[in-house]
Amino acid sequence: MFEAIAFYLFAFLTVAMFSITVLTSQALYALTSLAAGMIFISAFFFLLGADFLGAVQIIVYTGAVMALYAFGMMFFDTTRELKEKNSSSMIVFGLSGLAALMVVVIFVTPIASEHISAIYPMHENVGNTQEVGMILFTKYLVPFEVAAVMLLVAMISGIVLAGKKMDRSLTQMSEEEIQSMQESDKKAVL
């Protein structure tokens, strides 16, 4: 009974939080409810006994949403409401709703027709973390490594893109140096 109560509570909270994320025009509300929703999702992992995934969900998404906050701080005055321009809101809502429905159908159909079965049953006396590790490093080793390589590629490209002028410090340069730098940049663009 506790599980049912907890499930419905967190289901409601998660849906409510993500609805706020989508519907509000206030950047701070959107970000905060996104973070809250991500944390509430971890509750489902805990309810299902997947403690490791739940904790990882919390850690990963707090960091990720924290980075989003940093962007929010850079781009918006987060204490003010944004004026949004939705020219064709019906199409956007219709398409996204349809996509969400399709995802639900894709995941629910095998469950509804009871053709889903656990290929890797739980081992007795082995912790959750070990289970995840075993599956990750046997069956899913290649996808895991490919994902890691992809992250590495993203990181390196990020460093290359952001680090073009990292060796120059505007605070330690004189006015003339900055001026000449800006002029040479203009030439490069032209």
Binding site: T32, D51, V56, I58, I59, M66, G72, G127
Partner: protein, 329 residues
């Protein structure tokens, strides 16, 4: 799930909440006294004997002050931010074994609320959420100093969280578990088996990251009084500000417990002596937080990021690799 378990858990939660809320108050008293003695002052002296009732006076002041919500702030977020800090600090305590198990009136008590098998990850995750308090408070406050504080908070968080996680990986590999009780039992053999002897680098790294995590002096960036007023707390008053404070001090106590259990043997074999040893270690770590505040200067935010990304993270990765190689052969 029987009723006795639920009642026991609720009692434990209430006890932890009460004890650590009070300890947070005493923490402020200790901090003021220790800092004063180190600076040849006396600290609070007037309220009660040796100023002991200063905590009560502060509490009365915080509770009775007007709760001001300034114009222009984002109301709901502004109001919920201190609650996040305080609540997550106490949520993190759920996976910490505070004492060895003992028998009270024939009933064995485990002084840990939930011995989940991912204890450390859970603590790190919940403490990470705790930084949302300063972040949200700073962003919602409609104050430029608070905003700077929030920006620093985000930058600092992303930097130190990497070091915290990576530095703990090596001890986790040695113990083969994420539960703090398993960590404790791994080191139950006495001082010679403490993880600090086999993982001194990880210990130092985690200690440094703990300073960043709790925002104490060498890395006291997000509420640096002499640069950005009180940072995220500038617009807060009364008990909302007090919640930030309780959260900060409770966090200091909990991270001291985590350090003592992971690296310094925890409560050892679970005797009364072991329990007192654990409290002594925690007291030392807490004292060290105050000690550094008296002795060390603050670093700049860019210096902290430099330190975390360019120095500590490579060392942590090297430590993991070396530990793995040693464990393999």
């Amino acid at each position: 799930m029987d009723t006795a378990f639920i009642i026991e858990t609720i009692i434990k939660i209430v006890v932890i909440l009460l004890v650590f809320s009070a300890l947070a108050g005493f923490g402020t008293y200790f901090e003021r006294k220790v800092l004063a003695f180190m600076q040849r002052r006396l600290g609070p002296m007037h309220v009660g004997p040796y100023g002991l009732l200063q905590i009560a006076a502060d509490g009365v002041k915080l509770f009775t002050k007007e709760d001001i919500v300034p114009a222009g702030v984002v109301g709901p977020i502004f109001k919920i931010a201190p609650v996040i800090t305080a609540a997550t600090a106490f949520m993190a305590a759920a996976a910490i074994p505070f004492l060895p198990e003992f028998t009270l009136f024939g009933y064995t008590v485990h002084p840990i609320v939930a011995d989940i098998n991912v204890g450390i990850l859970y603590i790190l995750g919940v403490m990470a959420i705790g930084l949302y308090g300063p972040l949200l408070g700073g962003m919602a406050s409609n104050n430029k100093y608070s905003l700077i504080s929030a920006a620093r908070g985000a930058a600092v968080f992303i930097s130190y969280e990497v070091v915290t996680g990576l530095s703990l990986l090596a001890p986790m590999m040695m113990v083969g578990s994420l539960s703090l009780i398993d960590f404790n039992n791994y080191q139950a053999g006495g001082i010679g088996e403490w993880i600090i002897w086999s993982q001194p680098v990880a210990f130092i790294l985690f200690w440094i990251a703990a300073f960043a995590e709790t925002g104490r002096t060498p890395f006291h960036l997000i509420a640096n009084d002499h640069e950005i007023i009180d940072g995220f707390g500038t617009e807060y008053s009364g008990m909302r500000w007090g919640l930030f404070f309780i959260g900060e001090y409770a966090n200091m106590f909990f991270i001291s417990f985590v350090m003592a259990i992971i690296f310094l043997g925890g409560f050892g074999d679970g005797t009364v002596l072991g329990a007192f040893a654990l409290l002594g270690k925690v007291a030392f770590f807490f004292f060290f937080f105050l000690w550094t505040r008296a002795a060390w200067p603050d670093v700049r935010p860019d210096q902290l990021m430099w330190l975390c990304w360019k120095v500590l993270m490579p060392i942590a990765v090297l430590n993991i690799v070396i530990t793995g190689i040693v464990m393999m052969f």
